[in-house]
C-alpha cells in the first residue's frame, strides 16, 4: 500500500517536472517558429470561462498567472467569470439566451441544466473536437462519466473526473457539536435531527440551527428526470413510473417535518428567499445543513471555513444522471474559438500544474506545499476559495493537510461501489411539451422554495401547488415523460 502511495507521489512529481520542462520547450518553439511562419507571434486567444461559485476577490490575479502558463502552452489566455451559487441557473439562462460572449461554461444537472440546454442548442457538440484535441481527456476520465453525459448519443461537455455516486450528508459545525456534546451517531433521517436542533435553538439564540438557502430540497429516495422539476422515479426501481414528487408520501411527510422545524424556529425565517448561506458559514453561526459529499470532504470544508466540519450520511451512494452530470464544462455554441477551448479543456484535465493553479491559486500566496502531495492553505486563500468539483479533473489535485495519501484511491473505490439509479442514462426530451414546461416552471417558482424550506404549511399549500401544477399541464409532461421512459426501458432491456 505504502509503495503504491509513494509511486503515485513520484508519478505526480514527475509529471509536474515534465510539464515544466515541456512548457519551457513550448516557449522556445514558439519563439523559433514565430520568426518563420508568423504563427507563433499570433495574438493569443482570450477564452472566457463562466463558472459557478461565490465570486472570489483574487480571481483576476490568479487568472493572470494561469494565462501566462496557458499562453506558453496553447497560446490562449483565460478570463474567468464567477456567478454565485444561488444565481447561477438564472443568470446563465439569461446570459446564454442573450448571446453574451463566452467560450467555456460550467453546466450540470443542477446548475444550468446540461441536458435541456444541450437540446436547446446552447452547447457545441464536441464529438469531433474531442477526437482531435481531447485525447488526454479520453484517457484520464472515468468512462462512466463520458458515456453518462451523452445526450442523444453525442457529447456536449467534458465531465469532471470526481466522485461518481451521489451521497447526501448532514454536515455539522463541530465547534457547536463539541460544545454541547451532541450525539450525531444516530442521525440519518430528517426526523432524527430534531433533538439536536432543539438544543441549539434553546441554548444559542444567535445561531441558525438548520442552514439552507432557497434551493434546498429535502431528500427523498427518488431520482428526478430534470433536476428540481417535480417529475421523478422511485430509486428502488420497483416500478418505472414517473410521478409528481409532491404527490408522494415520502415528500409529503418530509415537508410536514420541514414545516414543523420552520415553525419551531430551527430554520432561518427568510430561507425561502435567501440566495446564499455564506453569511452563516463565514460566521460559523450554524449547527447543521445538508450537502453532497465525496470521500474526505470534511477536510475540504474544514479547510475552507477555518473551523472543523463533520458529516454523517443522509442517503445511500447512488449513481444518478444528476451525479454523472454533476459537473460538466461545455463549450458555448457561440464560441469564437472552439478549438482553443477544447485544447484548454484537455490541458485542464490532464496537466496538474494548471489544474492546481486554477484550484488553489498561486503558490506562496494562497497556499504552500507541505510535501510533494500535500498543501496548506495560507490566509490569503480566503480570497481565492474555489469549489474543486466544478473546475475539471479532481484526481490531479494536491491533497489537503490531513488528507491520507491514498485519497484518490478512495475516490476510485467510492466510485466503483456506487449503486446505479434505475433511470441512469435516460434523458428526458422536453421539446414536445415546451409550452407546458415553461408553465410548470413558472408555477414551480411560485411554490417550490417556500414549500421545500418549510416556510408554508403543506396542509394547505401542497394541494394548492399540486392543483396549480396540474393546471399548468403537469399531467401532459408526465405522460410524455412516461412514454419516453417506457420506450427507453424497452430499448435497454
Amino acid at each position: 500500500m505504502s509503495k503504491l502511495k509513494k509511486r503515485a507521489g513520484l508519478a505526480l512529481a514527475a509529471t509536474t517536472a515534465l510539464s515544466v520542462v515541456l512548457s519551457g520547450c513550448g516557449g522556445n518553439n514558439n519563439e523559433a517558429s514565430g520568426s518563420g511562419s508568423g504563427s507563433g507571434s499570433e495574438k493569443p486567444v482570450e477564452l472566457i470561462w463562466y463558472t459557478i461559485g461565490t465570486p472570489q476577490k483574487d480571481v483576476d490575479t490568479v487568472m493572470a498567472e494561469v494565462s501566462k502558463y496557458t499562453q506558453e502552452k496553447i497560446n490562449a489566455t483565460i478570463k474567468m467569470k464567477m456567478i454565485d451559487w444561488g444565481d447561477y441557473q438564472q443568470k446563465m439562462q439569461v446570459l446564454v439566451a442573450s448571446g453574451e460572449p463566452m467560450d467555456i461554461l460550467f453546466t450540470s444537472a443542477g446548475g444550468f441544466d446540461y441536458v435541456q440546454n444541450a437540446r436547446k442548442g446552447a452547447f457545441l457538440e464536441l464529438d469531433e473536437l474531442l477526437d482531435k484535441y481531447g485525447q488526454g481527456i479520453k484517457d484520464t476520465i472515468d468512462p462512466g462519466f463520458l458515456s453518462g453525459s451523452k445526450v442523444d448519443g453525442h457529447n456536449y461537455g467534458i465531465p469532471a473526473n470526481k466522485e461518481l455516486p451521489q451521497l447526501e450528508v448532514w454536515r455539522f459545525n463541530k465547534n457547536l457539536v463539541d460544545k454541547y456534546q451532541l450525539d450525531t451517531s444516530g442521525i440519518r433521517t430528517l426526523e432524527s435531527l430534531e433533538p439536536l436542533l432543539k438544543t441549539i435553538k434553546e441554548k444559542e439564540s444567535e445561531v441558525t440551527p438548520f442552514g439552507m438557502d432557497k434551493n434546498f430540497v429535502p431528500y427523498v429516495p427518488y431520482d428526478y428526470l430534470v433536476t428540481n422539476m417535480p417529475m421523478a422515479v422511485k430509486l428502488d426501481g420497483s416500478d418505472m413510473k414517473v410521478v409528481n414528487i409532491l404527490e408522494t408520501d415520502e415528500m409529503k411527510s418530509a415537508l410536514e417535518t420541514m414545516h414543523k422545524y420552520y415553525m419551531a424556529g430551527y430554520i432561518a425565517p427568510e430561507a425561502a428567499t435567501t440566495g446564499s448561506t455564506s453569511d452563516l458559514t463565514t460566521s460559523g453561526k450554524w449547527l447543521l445543513d445538508r450537502a453532497q459529499t465525496q470521500p474526505l470532504a470534511e477536510n475540504l470544508w474544514s479547510a475552507s471555513y477555518g473551523y472543523p466540519v463533520t458529516t454523517t450520511p443522509a442517503s445511500d451512494a447512488i449513481i444518478t444522471n444528476t451525479s454523472v452530470q454533476g459537473s460538466i464544462m461545455a463549450i458555448s455554441a457561440n464560441s469564437e474559438h472552439p478549438e482553443k477551448a477544447m485544447e484548454f479543456l484537455n490541458l485542464l484535465n490532464t496537466d496538474p500544474v494548471l489544474r492546481n493553479m486554477v484550484d488553489s491559486g498561486i503558490e506562496g500566496t494562497h497556499y504552500e506545499k507541505i510535501d510533494d502531495l500535500h498543501i496548506k492553505n495560507l490566509d490569503a486563500s480566503q480570497n481565492y476559495n474555489m469549489p474543486s468539483y466544478s473546475l475539471g479533473n479532481n484526481m490531479l489535485l494536491y491533497l489537503n493537510e490531513g488528507d491520507p495519501d491514498d485519497k484518490w484511491d478512495q475516490f476510485k473505490k467510492f466510485n466503483s461501489e456506487g449503486k446505479a439509479s434505475p433511470i441512469l442514462g435516460f434523458n428526458f426530451d422536453s421539446t414536445k411539451v415546451a409550452t407546458e414546461m415553461t408553465a410548470v416552471q413558472n408555477v414551480k417558482e411560485q411554490f417550490w422554495a417556500s414549500l421545500m424550506t418549510g416556510t408554508v404549511d403543506p396542509a394547505t399549500f401542497l394541494p394548492k401547488a399540486i392543483d396549480e401544477f396540474k393546471k399548468a399541464g403537469m399531467d401532459k409532461v408526465i405522460a410524455e415523460a412516461q412514454s419516453q421512459l417506457d420506450a427507453w426501458v424497452a430499448a435497454n432491456k
Partner: protein, 309 residues
C-alpha cells in the same frame, strides 16, 4: 423635385443636427426594440449577432403566447395589474386631494411647510430602500410589527409567505410613498383659487364643509379629471420597483404580487426563453397602447392642451 428636397434639407441642416442625437436615441432605444418584438413569434436562439438571430430564428406563430393563455397566468397578472392600479388611482386621488385641502387650511403656514417637507421624503427614496424599510417592520422574527402584535397577544405573522395581507400592504406602501408628493399639484391649484369666492360664501353662511364641496372641489374638477385620465392611460403598466422590491421576490406571494412587468422579467430569468417573455411583453404593449389612445382621446375632448398629442 430632388433639388427642392436638397434645398429644404440644407436650410434645415442645423436644426436637423440638433435633433440627431435624440433621434438616434429613439431609434436605438425605442424603435429597434419595437422591431425586436417579432421575437415574440420566433423560437429565438442567439446565433451570430442581433440581426441574424432575429431573422434566422425559427418562426413559430402564436406558440409563444400559448403558455400565457393556456394557464391562468395571463388572467392573474392582468387582474393584479389592473386592480392595483385602480386602487392606486382612486385612493391616491382621495388621499392627495384630502391632504391638499387639509394643508391649505392650516393656520400656521410655517408648520404646513414643515409637514410638507416631511411628507415629501418618501418620494425621494428608491424602491430598494423602501424595501428595506418594509422589511424592518415585516420581518417575521425581528420586525416591529410582529413585536407590537406580540404585545397584544397576537401570534407572529409570516408576512413574507402569507399572501392575505399583501394587497393592503402594497397599497399602503404605494400611498405612503406617493401622496405627499402628488398632493402638491392639488395644493397649488387650491392656492390659486380666488379667495373672494370663499369670502362670499362665508357671508352667505356656508360652513367650511359646504365651501369645500361647493367651491374647492368643483374648481379642482378639471385637473382631477386630467390627472386621472392620464393615470388611466398607464393602467396596464405597473411600478416594477414596488412589486419587485417590497415583497422581496417571495414566491408564495406571487399570486397577489405578480404584475405584468414582474412576470415578464421573471419569465425571462427563470426560463431564458426570449420568445415567450417577449410575447408577454407584447401583450402588455398592445393593450397598453389601446388604453393610452382611449384615455388620450378623452383628455383631448376635455382639454386640448393637456392631451399628449
Amino acid at each position: 423635385m430632388a433639388g427642392s428636397f436638397f434645398r429644404r434639407f440644407n436650410r434645415n441642416k442645423v436644426l436637423l443636427l440638433m435633433v440627431l442625437p435624440g433621434a438616434l436615441w429613439f431609434l436605438f432605444f425605442s424603435y429597434l426594440p419595437l422591431f425586436g418584438t417579432i421575437a415574440a413569434f420566433k423560437e429565438y436562439r442567439f446565433r451570430g449577432g442581433f440581426w441574424n438571430s432575429l431573422i434566422n430564428s425559427k418562426f413559430v406563430g402564436w406558440d409563444n403566447f400559448k403558455f400565457l393563455f393556456n394557464t391562468d397566468a395571463a388572467f392573474t397578472i392582468t387582474r393584479n395589474t389592473l386592480l392595483y392600479n385602480i386602487a392606486f388611482i382612486f385612493l391616491g386621488l382621495v388621499f392627495s386631494v384630502g391632504l391638499a385641502i387639509l394643508l391649505s387650511e392650516l393656520v400656521n403656514k410655517r408648520l404646513a411647510k414643515l409637514y410638507q417637507t416631511s411628507m415629501f421624503l418618501p418620494y425621494f427614496l428608491s424602491w430598494v430602500i423602501v424595501g428595506y424599510f418594509a422589511f424592518s417592520f415585516l420581518s417575521m422574527d425581528r420586525g416591529l410589527l410582529n413585536h407590537i402584535l406580540g404585545y397584544f397577544g397576537v401570534d407572529s405573522m409570516q408576512w413574507y409567505s402569507d399572501p392575505t395581507y399583501w394587497p393592503y400592504i402594497l397599497i399602503f406602501v404605494y400611498l405612503w410613498k406617493s401622496i405627499g408628493y402628488s398632493s402638491v399639484v392639488y395644493l397649488a391649484s387650491i392656492l390659486g383659487i380666488d379667495r373672494s369666492l370663499y369670502e362670499a360664501a362665508m357671508i352667505d353662511g356656508a360652513s367650511k364643509l359646504q365651501q369645500v364641496r361647493n367651491i374647492t372641489l368643483p374648481l379642482l374638477k378639471p385637473i382631477i379629471i386630467i390627472m386621472t385620465l392620464l393615470a388611466v392611460g398607464k393602467i396596464f403598466y405597473a411600478d416594477f420597483g414596488l412589486f419587485y422590491n417590497v415583497p422581496r421576490d417571495s414566491g408564495t406571494l406571487y399570486s397577489v404580487t405578480n404584475v405584468i412587468d414582474t412576470y415578464v422579467y421573471r419569465g425571462f430569468k427563470v426560463t431564458g426563453e426570449i420568445g415567450m417573455s417577449t410575447a408577454a411583453g407584447l401583450y402588455q404593449s398592445v393593450v397598453g397602447f389601446v388604453l393610452v389612445m382611449v384615455s388620450n382621446f378623452a383628455v383631448r375632448k376635455l382639454d386640448k392642451d393637456s392631451a399628449l398629442f
